[in-house]
Amino acid sequence: MSALTFTLKAPLQQRVDVSPLTPDQLADKSVAEIAAITLVSGRQQLRVDQVFDISGDDANDIIFAQASRKLDYIGQKMNGGRITINGGAGSYLGLQMRKGEIVLNGDADAFAASGMAGGTLHINGSVGDFLAAALPGDRKGMKGGVVIITGNAGERAGDQMRRGIILIEGNVGAYCASRMLAGTIGVLGTVGDYLGYGMRRGTLLLTQEPKLHATLQDCGTHTLPFLSLMFKSFANFPSKFASLKQNRVQRYAGDIANDGKGEILVLK
């Protein structure tokens, strides 16, 4: 069995919703059946084989080749298996994903990992705004799982995040961890203004001293034992975070305008 591969036939003019193409939905389907699945693209309905060349047969290991940033909802509600995307991904990558693994070699647009509840999302590239954030109208963003990003993330990363771990090796835009409910976000690069705006609980781990707004309060420098456990849990991740060791941090708590039980830890 070789990986079930969807190769984009031609550059897309219009966005395409590829949410039907997940391992659990394609399991037990023949190539002909897969080719006949309809994908929504704006006002149009397209057959899969109108958009992609299909090869391979292992639905548990799906590859999107020459993928473009017009492919939305990749891995939506995915419940197992593995999706590899070479090229780029549109918005809502891994939306409400529950299990399995997505690897993106390229950049993604907004709302990646939104509502994600489990599994791992590994992006070798950068993402747009609202990473792991709640969809408009939702009360919670990411609810579990692990997101690793080697590049940068846009604004509002982790907005209303509830649980899980996000590790960003690059820089993050403004309002990082805004209205965060719980969980862990690590950033090795710089963070924009108003990080932790309205943050209720959760941990934001930084390596560089950030610019803080008035309702984040300094709690001093500490050696926190839980960091050893956390770094140990990172040790197997394919990420620069795997090599973090020292657990001495400056601890800022907040946002005291909104309960104030969150923390921003800056490695010393």
Partner: protein, 302 residues
């Protein structure tokens, strides 16, 4: 059966089913890990009045502990899950939560047929008065409770399994110092065996008991058949040359663990042999009617 001049009685130790758990306690250094562990396993010699039987199983190197600090593992046994759960919680709260730099982690996660999750730090978190936070790593939930020395870190739960308590053997010697020396040798050897503890002071008990008493209020009383000073006035089990008897009681996670510990302990005592005054090895039982586990001495030493 005679080993190095020591007679091994044709009898058996009678043991009972218990509920057991393991907790890993770490601290900044071994001194403070031991301080917490000793407090937590203090006053835990016998379920008769202590609720649980507990002891330190072994020392753990930093590589073996979840948080990379030195630690010790402790085992705790009770006659029912309700008592074990209650005792674990109160002892955690008074002995580990209170001990500077100490942290507690689950010691049983896998490897046994039936593992019941029980609270380790789950309710201690409320000591944090709303400032407590939880973290979930690799599917395990931990609690961080702000305390005056920094943060108390504890895993939310640990595993409880069906285990065995009350494995035992008696060392009969020509004098008290010789009996004690044999017990010390046995305990030194047995403390290297994993999955067992010897809950009595220093691992040794001198007040072996029989069921019942002439006093109605007491359910157990001194085992006069093995009391050397009563040789002439009671139905004794002792021959004239025996002047002192001591018992080693063993609780273990499984039946085979106790067998290994008994074998190692009896062998160590026998090594001193008849020339050092060790005359007999026996065991305590209730005629086989009460406990489902029978550890036959001659079978174990065969």
């Amino acid at each position: 059966m005679i080993i190095n001049g020591v007679t091994i009685d044709d009898t058996f130790a009678e043991a009972f089913g218990m509920r057991g758990t393991r907790v890993i306690i770490t601290a900044q250094n071994l001194r403070w890990a031991y301080n917490a562990a000793r407090a937590m396993t203090g006053f835990a010699t016998s379920v008769i009045a202590c609720g649980v039987e507990a002891g330190i199983e072994r020392e753990l190197s930093p590589e073996e502990t979840p948080d990379g600090r030195p630690g010790v593992s402790i085992l705790m046994f009770a006659m029912s899950s309700a008592v074990l759960i209650k005792q674990l919680e109160t002892r955690m709260g008074q002995c580990v939560l209170t001990c500077p730099t100490a942290a507690a982690f689950s010691g049983i996660d896998e490897g046994y047929a039936e593992i019941t999750k029980i609270n380790l730090g789950k309710n201690l978190r409320f000591f944090g008065d709303g400032f407590q936070t939880s973290k979930l790593f690799n599917g395990k939930r931990y609690w961080r409770v702000p305390v005056m020395d920094g943060e108390f870190l504890t895993e939310e739960s640990t595993g409880m399994i069906r285990s065995v308590g009350g494995g035992n053997f008696l060392i009969l010697a020509e004098s008290q110092p010789q009996a004690l020396a044999a017990c010390e040798a046995a305990i030194d050897a047995m403390s290297k065996v994993p999955n067992v503890i010897m809950p009595f002071p220093g691992g040794v008990v001198r007040s072996g008991s029989k069921v019942g008493s002439k006093y109605k209020a007491l359910i157990a009383s001194t085992n006069d058949a093995f009391c050397p000073t009563l040789k002439g006035i009671t139905k004794t089990e002792l021959s004239p040359e025996i002047e002192s008897v001591m018992e080693i009681v063993i609780d273990g996670l499984t039946d085979p663990d106790i067998r290994v510990a008994m074998r190692v302990g009896i062998a160590a005592a026998c090594e001193l042999g008849a020339k050092n005054g060790i005359k007999r090895i026996s065991a305590g039982n209730y005629g086989g009617k009460l406990g489902p586990y029978h550890f036959k001495l001659r079978e174990i030493m065969a």
